[in-house]
Symmetry: C2
Subunit: 677 residues, 2 copies
């Protein structure tokens, strides 16, 4: 017991070490020069906008958290409430730290690009690593401390639930926000007022740049914080159960997830510092080296932890299978969305016959794209379950496969946050008219950013699918359904359980509809506000007056958050209603129905949006007449349709499915006791 | 036993009576005048085209049937093979009879419209009734005779499988065909060659008119023949099992489905003859009267059959619940696609901001639309199961609910086939320049046709969803999974069964992708052929030479059928592979996964397509600038995108889900014996 206590102390200490590195990285970013007064001014606008967003968003979320704390404290208990508040707060904190450094790193990256591309690259990546390491470190600190205090992983479920809820707000709100700003800036600023891209007189242009941080950076950070936390907690619970049943051989099953992730955090710190200028190594080469080093050290950690802690090499195989699966899903996504692949080329070619054919071909390829990812996820589940010999050990194997993927979270998140920083840097360079000084270096970094973004998307896809399954398996334990021999189980040959599956399947469709509709509606409001400012602020168009960026940001934020209120309610309320009316078995079936449809729809949305985006870029690269011709106009329609699908509905569905599962997990004891049927 | 034998004799006799009425109706249509020589000529073109389609389609299907007969006879038995061939043949025969009268009724309807709208209406409806009554009568004859010969409903499963296979070909082939012809006629004939709508010089215009018959008429006929047959057979099997277990009280459970449908056939005959000109009654009024009379007589039949045959009033409630559900789904579909409803108006309004926003708003409403239908279907399943007290009786209750819906098949199919006949009549009147003589009467009939078409679509949606569930429940019996106490059941807490669910969910996405892609590809080939004819046939554009309609039809048919080869293979092969590798339980989970996703996607596709279609019509009615303006151009894009979704992918998915379920049902004994896991 003492040994285990010391082992558990290591976890928050490693997390704290991670936060020290975060502090160092933040310091090393902040001490860099921000360039010309003009650059500082623009960066200040973005920072102002980001702060306005965070302020409004956080006050909405805090309201929601307090509201939800009441039923949780009454029905579940005070410890769960504390865990819930911690989970939500740390998720918000990680996003806050990551984003506030990202909105400083952007201008410094732009300035560094005036001197050398290598310096610029290293700076942007360090800025991203602040987000990546914060996510992982704060999660480990939170879970580690709560476990030390409570001594029971089941009491930590609330932490995951809080993380899920905060993530849904961050991702959905951020997604709606950024798309509304995007459409507002384009439709009014560029088309109606005739301004250039990134003109500072456009009131929505700053909101657009803020949106990059808010959607891609903070949203994704919250998403991965959630996946990471949920999985570790669930794996701990399954391990706890194994240890209770077979103390001898599974005694360390509870600590295994924490220990392996702590090792992975150390590996990520090494990996992050590897990404820099090396002699005889290209920039993307150093990025790949960092990725490889992180992966290899983590894998070695998994190998030794499997043997030393659990005396089983098979657990290591499960983790490896998970990692390979996320790579395989990446290859499939690359096929469907890569600019030089058949689907994108075909969609581009079909644009010559107009927008309708472009959309039809996109839908045809997009609907096809979830098939192989689904097979791959199924294969990992089947393999991990069987290699562990089935039963509860098999469940643990599936959780271990997900832990394998999770070990890359810190590095993947760092490279994902790198994208919007470089994007922003390019925008700042454009607006501050220093593009000639930086040459093509920011474009080069941008193309590296696009590669890392594609990597993250397929990573998040695999992670979300498997996480949902792991939470479901843990739900089985909490709802006393895991032991078939004790007449547990969820038998779908019972029509009343079957209808749980049906209702569950319909929820992601409803949720996506609301998310896409919300993006559309908020975009309209943004258009109205930008038009109003052009009309009412004297001298704006002549450059004599400053537009009210904060008001644009605030309106968009407020409405984005208002529009996401109802979808969030669905995620929390539907499992409780179905559970209380139809019972815990039908609820289990509902979880499965919505997991299947969420994963399929999300993969469809993300791939179809990516394919339309690249089809447009393919045409802009000079094919079929290039920019401004008939085929290009058709491809722009596809790209615009794809935006709310790939940046709002798709990523939000990943969180939606985990939130529903976590809600069921948290409320399982109540549902089991009070169900009508 | 003798009594039961005489009772079973009544079934094919009633079916034969139905066919006599079909013969009378066909005679009464054929004796009507076909109008001017020009009208006869055009009608001859359509007939020629339809024959070319049927010839090519049937030779492909026969090839497939022979190919499949070999494994069926080896692995399942000769009786099943005979039933399979009967099912496929009778489905094809019903479609053949119905379509060959429809392509004669069109011109006679156009001619009758020159005299009176009432006569024209009655004629078109009688033409449609030939299809409606053929479907129901031939199914009852086939199932009735096979049951009398074999004495065991399980040996009749092959009949349903044959019907499913033929239906997939008919609907998918017909759908791809009609959309290819549509796009070919529009893009080349109207846009490139500058011809008017329905100009006989356009080689694809006849294919377009043929397409109406082939897609809406023959395709839907095969769809309903399949739903009807599959359900009766499954209800018989469940009844057979009940009778074996409780001979006393459930002795007539096997005959109940046949008897109620025979009564419903008689009710339909009465209903069909009610639809005509009455003093003091509008045309749509007489249609509603016919619908009501069919419904009421069928309901009385159900009531007495429930009491006399089964001594249970609850069965009657189940049937009523099914009927009410199909009405409720109709109300939901009407909300999402009705021209005066909020969604369509909003989509129309959003067209002012361009094609992309039109598509986004359409997707938002479309994705929302499956939610309530899914809840309604779930409610019917839950109600029927519970009102019968659960267990096997509960399964029978779900089947009875579907039988309630089925009782309207004949009438609904008649009114559905009415649509393309009137559509064709309008086209013929346009081409033969007799529009001034017929006044607005064909437009009025067309609007009645649109009402009935909307009715049929939501009817088919409810029917397909519930049918799939009934086949699944029957599969449980055939795979020995229905009895939970005997440790049967499908427990989705087993990850290996769970992955069946995952794979099943992905299949409808893949299938839809292939169907939509096939429609796109075939349209391109059609475009090339029409361009070729304009280029190579001298004097065509001057009206001196006749275009080669048959070649257009043949190319489109051939490619439509080639393109649907792979989707059909998926429907037959995937359940067998999953069953043999993962076992009959995982296969059951797969059936559920694909049923859920098929129903959701089909409902999404059909509603979104209908909404885009009506948004365009709303603008054409004079809103937002009307025809030819910016908003109209945007709405045309939405309408074109919706075409392959609502007329190819959506309806085909209904058949796809039943085909997979029927394949599993037919091969269940083999799968149970030879499964690896």
């Amino acid at each position: 017991m003492d040994e285990a206590f010391y082992m558990s102390l290591i976890i928050p200490i490693t997390g704290a070490l991670g936060m020290l590195v975060v502090a160092y990285l933040a310091w090393s970013v902040r001490r860099e020069d921000s360039g010309t007064p003009r650059m500082r001014e623009i960066a200040e606008y973005i920072r102002e906008g980001a702060n306005a967003f965070l302020k409004r968003q956080y006050s909405t979320i805090i309201y929601f958290i307090i509201l939800l704390s009441i039923p949780i404290s009454i029905f579940i208990g005070l410890k769960a409430t504390l865990a819930f508040i911690c989970g939500a707060s740390l998720s918000l904190l990680a996003a806050y730290i990551g984003m506030s450094i990202a909105v400083q790193a952007n201008v410094k990256t732009a300035n560094a690009a005036r001197k050398s591309i290598e310096k610029s690259f290293a700076l942007a990546f360090r800025g991203g690593a602040v987000m990546g390491l914060s996510v992982v470190s704060l999660s480990l600190i939170g879970i580690g401390l709560l476990y030390i205090i409570f001594g029971n992983p089941e009491l930590v479920i609330g932490f995951g639930f809080g993380a899920s809820l905060a993530a849904l707000f961050a991702q959905l709100g951020g997604g709606i926000y950024t798309k509304a700003a995007d459409i507002g800036a384009d439709l009014v600023g560029k088309v109606e007022a005739g301004l250039d891209e990134d003109d500072p007189r456009n009131p929505a242009v700053i909101a657009d740049l803020v949106g990059d941080n808010v959607g891609d950076c903070a949203g994704r950070g919250a998403d991965l914080f959630e996946s990471y936390s949920d999985n570790i907690i669930c794996a701990m619970i399954l391990g706890f159960l194994l240890a209770q049943l077979w103390e001898e051989s599974w005694g360390n099953a509870l600590m295994f997830p924490l220990v392996t992730q702590a090792i992975a955090l150390l590996a990520t710190i090494v990996g992050v510092f590897v990404v820099r200028k090396w002699r005889n190594l290209s920039l993307i080469g150093s990025f790949n080296l960092g990725l490889a080093i992180t992966g290899i050290i983590s894998a070695i950690g998994f190998y030794y932890a499997s043997i030393v802690l659990l005396h089983r090499i098979n657990i290591f195989y499960c983790a490896l299978a998970g990692l390979l699966a996320s790579l395989a899903v990446g290859v499939v996504a690359q096929y469907y969305t890569g600019i030089n692949m058949k689907p994108v080329k075909r969609i581009a070619a079909s644009s010559r016959r107009g927008a309708a054919i472009n959309i039809i071909m996109g839908l045809a390829y997009g609907l096809q794209s979830p098939f192989f990812p689904m097979l791959i996820i199924s294969a990992v589940i089947g393999f991990s379950y069987m290699v562990m010999g089935g039963g509860l050990e098999g469940f643990y194997g599936v959780a271990a496969a997900t832990l394998g993927i999770l070990s890359m979270t810190g590095f993947i998140m760092s490279s994902d946050a790198f994208g919007p920083i470089v994007d922003n840097a390019d925008g700042i360079a454009e607006m501050a008219k220093i593009k000639r000084q930086v040459g093509g270096s920011l474009e080069k970094l941008d193309s590296i950013g696009n590669t890392t973004k594609a990597l993250t998307k397929s990573y998040a896809m695999t992670c979300a699918g498997l996480s949902a399954v792991v939470i479901f398996l843990t739900y089985l334990k909490e709802a006393n359904l895991w032991d078939k021999l004790a007449l547990g189980g969820i038998d779908v040959t019972d029509p009343l359980i079957l209808i749980g599956l049906f209702i569950g399947g319909a929820l992601p469709f409803l949720f996506s509809a609301l998310a896409i509709g919300a993006a559309g509606k908020t975009a309209f409001l943004m258009v109205d506000e930008v038009r109003r400012q052009f009309r009412q602020i004297k001298g704006l168009i002549e450059g004599k007056a400053k537009p009210n960026y904060a008001r644009c940001v605030d309106i968009s934020t407020k409405n984005a958050l208002m529009e996401m209120f109802f979808p969030a309610i669905i995620g929390v309320v539907s499992p409780i209603i179905v559970g209380l009316v139809l019972g815990e078995r039908a609820l289990g079936a509902m979880l499965l129905g919505q997991t299947v449809c969420s994963v399929l729809l999300a993969s469809f949305f993300i791939n179809v949006g990516g394919a339309w985006d690249n089809a447009k870029k393919y045409i802009e690269a000079g094919h079929y007449g290039g920019k401004g011709r008939f085929a290009h106009a058709a491809s722009v329609v596809g790209d615009t349709v794809g935006d709310p699908l790939k940046d709002v509905a798709g990523p939000s569905l990943h969180i939606f499915t985990k939130l529903i599962n976590m809600t069921a997990l948290l409320f399982a004891p109540i549902i089991v006791m009070h169900a009508l049927l």
